[in-house]
Structures are given as C-alpha cells and as structure tokens.
C-alpha cells in the first residue's frame, strides 16, 4: 500500500502499436501499403515515392509491418489508396499480368538483382524462360544459380513475375510467395498450357521452329504457339537449330540474335 514509487512505476505501459508508424508517416519516414486482389488472393502492396517496394500475401498487418521493418529498416503503414499512376500500373500487373514498366523501388537491390528483376518484368504473361536465358540476357552467362537466388529474393513477386522464370528441364522450381505450387497455379491462370509444356520440356525439347519462316522460339513464345503442328520442328538446343539453318526469334531471343 505504501510503496507508492513501485506502484507509480507499474503505471508505465507500452504505447499503442499504431503510434510509431503514424509519427514516422507524418514525418515522411514511413512507407505505405494497400491491399489488392491477385490471382493468389489479396496481397499487400507497399510503395515509396520510387515505386512498389514489397508485395506479400495479405495477412496479419502487424506481422507484415514487422517483417518490412526487418527487411528495409523502415516503417510501413496502411494507406487509403495508391497514387493514381502507380495504381494503374499495379492493377495492370496484378490483374492482367502486364508487368513491363511497373515502377519498382530498387533501393537495397544489388545491380545484378536489379538487372535480373528488370528483365524478368519483360516476360509476357503466360510465357516462361529458363534461368540460363536470364543470365545470358543480362550479360552474365552461366550465372544461373545467382539468377535463381536473385529471383528467390524478389521483394515484389507478381509485380516482377519471377514465376515466369523456370528450370530448363521443364520443372517449375521453387517459388517464394506462399507454396511452390503457386508458381504453376499462376502460370495456368495466365493461360500457359502447363501439362503440354511440361511434357515437351520433359522430352528435352527446348525450342520450337517453323519450317515456313525458318525461325525458332522458346516453346511458350506467342510466335511459337502459332506454328501449326504440320510445320512445327523441335530442337533440343540452339546449336541444333542453328545447324538446321534456323535463326532465333527477335522477340523471345532463344539465342543472342
């Protein structure tokens, strides 16, 4: 009863958890996020003045904020809406899979990772490319494993479609957003004939050519999908296609064109 100092000390209590993010947001020291629908259900999309900084499956907001703080050293608070220009780009990416040109905040990314993500964003929806292709296209042939790591650490899945980069043998490989199976799910949702592709890659086929045009493509390239069965030629390597007198497609660039 009489130990008043101890009882006063017990009046100390933690500040409400929303207070720190609010203070930092008012100072412009916090990033913001919105919730958006996606093929994998609702996702949190965090953004800065430079673009999208993080995409994750929507869940407990406090855990999201804690993970964000851990990863970027910044607070993140819920926002009412995305800025209009970013909103259009993000909805195009999440809704239609059109990911090219969505502004991404590259702070904290290595030059290598930024190059990998920039290139991955250019792969059209419903199409896939092997890890080795990314490595070659960014001028680092043979760095397939590093490409895989860079994509695994992709802070903005869906907005940068790391799910469109797969193993050369036709297996889809690992995926960071939820379960590995989501990678296949996303590609299916984008219109990829998943089983057909797996069967083809499983037989060792890496490229398809057209004997009318003399051009060869990645099997999922929109040009390859237009080749009729009668004119379709299968190749196990670009060397084989070259020996047969075919040239690489200028869109999907199965070899340096």
């Amino acid at each position: 009863m009489t130990d008043i100092p101890a009882r006063l000390a017990a009046l100390r209590e933690p500040a409400p958890t929303h207070l720190v993010p609010e203070v930092l947001e008012r100072l412009g020291l916090a990033d913001r996020y919105v919730t958006r629908p996606s093929a994998l259900g609702p996702v949190f999309v965090a953004f800065t003045n430079f673009g999208v900084s993080r995409v994750d499956l929507a869940g407990d907001p406090e855990r999201f904020a804690a993970a964000y703080r851990q990863r970027f050293g910044r607070e993140v608070v819920a926002a009412v809406a995305l800025p209009p220009r970013l909103a259009a780009a993000v909805d195009r990416a999440l809704g239609e899979g059109r990911t090219r040109g969505v502004p991404v905040d590259r702070a904290g990314l290595s030059e290598f990772q930024a190059a990998v993500l920039h290139l991955a964003a250019s792969i059209p929806p419903g199409e896939v490319r092997p890890y080795g292709w990314v490595a070659r296209e960014i001028g680092r042939p043979g760095s397939d494993r590093a490409v895989g790591n860079a994509l695994a650490a992709n802070p903005v899945p869906l907005v940068v479609p790391c799910h469109r980069v797969v193993r050369a043998d036709g297996r889809f490989g690992r995926y960071s957003l939820g379960a590995d199976a989501n990678k296949r799910l996303l590609l299916e949702a984008e219109g990829l004939e998943v089983e057909e592709y797996e069967a083809l890659a499983g037989r060792g086929v890496r490229y398809l050519g057209s004997d009318t045009t003399g051009i060869y493509c990645h099997p999922t390239c929109r040009h390859a999908r237009r080749i009729t069965a009668k004119h379709r030629v299968e190749f196990c390597s670009s060397a084989e296609a070259a020996r047969a007198g075919y040239r690489p497609c200028r869109d999907c660039r199965p070899a340096a064109a």
């Binding site: 008043i4 009882r7 100390r12 409400p16 207070l19 008012r26 100072l27 990863r71």
Partner: protein, 188 residues
C-alpha cells in the same frame, strides 16, 4: 542504416548528427513508450497522450533540422524530448483550465473505453485509483512525480526536462508523493 537492429541510446546523438532521417526512427522507438506513459499520467487521457507523443516527436524532428551536427551530438535526447513533451502536456492543461466545462479528468474519464489485459491487471492492483489521484496533483508536483517515478528519469534528468533547479524538483517529488499517500489513506 540496415535492417531492424537497434542503436543504443548512447549512440543515437552521433547517429542523428550523421543522418537525421535514418536515425530518427530509432529515437522514436527508443523513447515512445516512456513519452506515452508519462504523457498519459500527466494529462490523464489516452487520446491526449497520443497527441502529445506525436506532436513532441514532430517538433523534435523539425528542431533537429536547424541544429548543427555539433549541437546534435551534445544532445541529451531523453531530457530534450521530454522538455518538449512536458511543455505540450502543460499547455493542454492551461487551455483546459480556460474552458472550465472540460474539468480536469475525473476517475471516470480515466477509465479506458476498451481496457486491455494490462489495464485490467493495473485496475486490479489499484492502478486506476492511483492514476486518478495523480491527476489531481498540482502541475509542478505531478510533472516531477511522473517523470521521476513513472518514466524513470533521474532527478538530474527531470530537472533538465522541466527546466527547474534539481532542489526544486526533489521537493516537488517529495511533496507529490506525500500528497498521494494521504489521498490513498483517506480512501481506505
């Protein structure tokens, strides 16, 4: 400043002098529980405590923008932020006095509309009664008692935060505690 690591209180002024924006979130996280708790017991209102905490850190951040790196390195951060926060609490009290319909918070006003587990534990321990008596102390005693015993500042720190001589602060804390003791005994 990478990731979620925390900078120790002692290293914060130097970090602030080097990069205000990178270091300031660490200042807020290091001090906010104390500032909020103290403001809550000085103002007697959770809403006021949140406002005071927000406003104190906003003012602190802006003030830092006008300080030289040398001055920032010399700052005694906790006392400095408390000087701002205590002033804000006091101003609220003054403006409230000018509008008598908003009397000093009674025990009823102190009751949290949705008490959490900690509040219930405190209430069980008579924390709410103590807090209500605290709210009735004169400002100088209340500020000194709260900073010394709720927030845990030393007498020297309280003196800097309140801009009063250390002897006066000690006397205020002493009188405040006596008053609380007699209020609690009356209640029995």
């Amino acid at each position: 400043m990478p990731g979620g690591h925390r900078i120790g209180m002692g290293a914060l002024p130097a970090a602030l002098a080097a990069d205000r924006d990178a270091a300031f979130p660490h200042v807020v996280r290091a001090l906010i529980d104390g500032v909020y708790s103290g403001a809550l017991r000085m103002t007697g209102s959770r809403a006021d405590a949140e406002d005071v905490a927000q406003e104190a850190f906003l003012r602190a951040y802006r003030a830092l923008g006008g300080y030289s790196p040398e001055r920032i390195r010399e700052l005694r951060l906790r006392e400095w932020v408390w000087a701002i926060a205590a002033n804000l609490c006091r101003n609220r009290e003054r403006s409230r006095r000018r509008r008598p319909q908003e009397a000093l918070p009674s025990q009823a006003a102190l009751a949290d509309p949705a008490p959490g587990p900690e509040d219930r534990a405190l209430a069980a321990a008579g924390g709410e009664a103590l807090a209500a008596h605290l709210a009735r102390l004169p400002w100088a005693q209340r500020a000194a008692v709260v900073l010394r015993h709720v927030t845990g500042l030393s007498y020297a720190e309280v003196a800097v935060a309140l801009g009063r001589p250390i002897g006066t602060v000690k006397a205020d804390v002493h009188r405040g505690l006596q008053r609380l003791r007699s209020l609690l005994e009356e209640e029995r």
